[in-house]
């Protein structure tokens, strides 16, 4: 598949717009799912996923063919989702890093299992519960956890996608898993 994509990208670079259709078709579910898991809202996910594909197209000449196209595309999509999360007003406060905590933000300071009674919807399905716990992870952990366990990228690939050192990816995936463990242990 990588070879076919590589070929298509070459055609796109030469100005063949229709070749891009196959590229979008191939990645649409993956990128949409990634945006949806990051944002938790289908309309926003559609919006951002579309923007990611359009940006990739517009900037295709800056894509280095020696690297994997998927890595480059996921980077664009992840950056856009994180931008979108930051721009949401109420969450802005929650996303702000707390000084001296090395990336922990207000989300991580919130009690994990204290739900308001009215939020404790009876019979809430396990799926929904897991989804909402994923969404309550700080975005910088959420992106890594998603890339690793839902998209099945290697830690090295995640380091390339997010443009952060491998060591940082490892620290964050450890913390992300711990956060998730605390959230899901009573599920």
């Amino acid at each position: 598949m990588d070879l076919i994509i590589r070929d298509k990208i070459k055609q796109v670079k030469k100005g063949d717009q229709t070749a891009y259709e196959d590229v979008v078709m191939f990645f649409q579910d993956k990128i949409f799912q990634h945006c949806y898991r990051m944002l938790g809202n289908k309309h926003e996910a559609e919006d951002i996923a579309q923007e990611a594909f359009i940006r990739a197209y517009v900037n295709i000449h800056s894509y280095d063919e020696n690297r994997k196209f998927s890595t480059w595309l996921y980077r664009i999509a992840t950056n856009l989702t994180i931008d979108r999360i930051r721009k949401r007003k109420p969450d802005y406060y929650l996303d702000a890093e707390v000084k001296g905590t090395d990336g922990l933000d207000m989300y991580s300071q919130l009690a994990t299992n204290d739900r308001l009674p009215e939020e404790e919807v009876q019979g809430m399905e396990l799926q929904n519960q897991i989804e909402s716990e994923i969404l309550s992870l700080p975005p910088k952990y959420r992106s890594i956890i998603m890339l690793r366990y839902l998209e099945e990228f290697s830690l090295q690939e995640i380091s390339d996608i997010l443009d952060i050192p491998l060591g940082t990816v490892k620290t964050r995936i450890h913390r992300g898993r711990e956060a998730l463990r605390k959230k899901l242990r009573h599920v």
Binding site: Q17, E21, V24, Q28, D29, F32, Q33, E46, I54, L150
Partner: protein, 82 residues
């Protein structure tokens, strides 16, 4: 072995496939004798299983088509790229 620091660290390294054979053995021996670490390890693995069980979502219908219609034509591209 210190549970909170060493054992938990080994668990995560195990999950990332970063342990040497000796370290795997150290972790295994520790887990056999320590209930709370065993529970911790089980919870970690279970949370990953739960995570992976979330439903796969698909892009909306016409997603690709919509994008193809929104792609800039040659002239607009200049404006898009600034």
């Amino acid at each position: 072995m210190n549970c909170d620091k060493e054992a938990v660290k080994l668990m995560h390294q195990h999950l990332d496939g970063d342990l040497t054979k000796e370290e795997e053995m150290q972790l295994k021996i520790h887990l056999e004798g320590c209930d709370s670490c065993q529970k911790h390890f089980h919870e970690l693995k279970r949370s990953i299983t739960l995570l992976k069980s979330v439903e796969q979502v698909k892009a909306p219908e016409n997603f690709t088509k919509d994008i193809m219609q929104k792609l800039p034509t040659e002239k607009k591209q200049v404006k898009y790229m600034r």
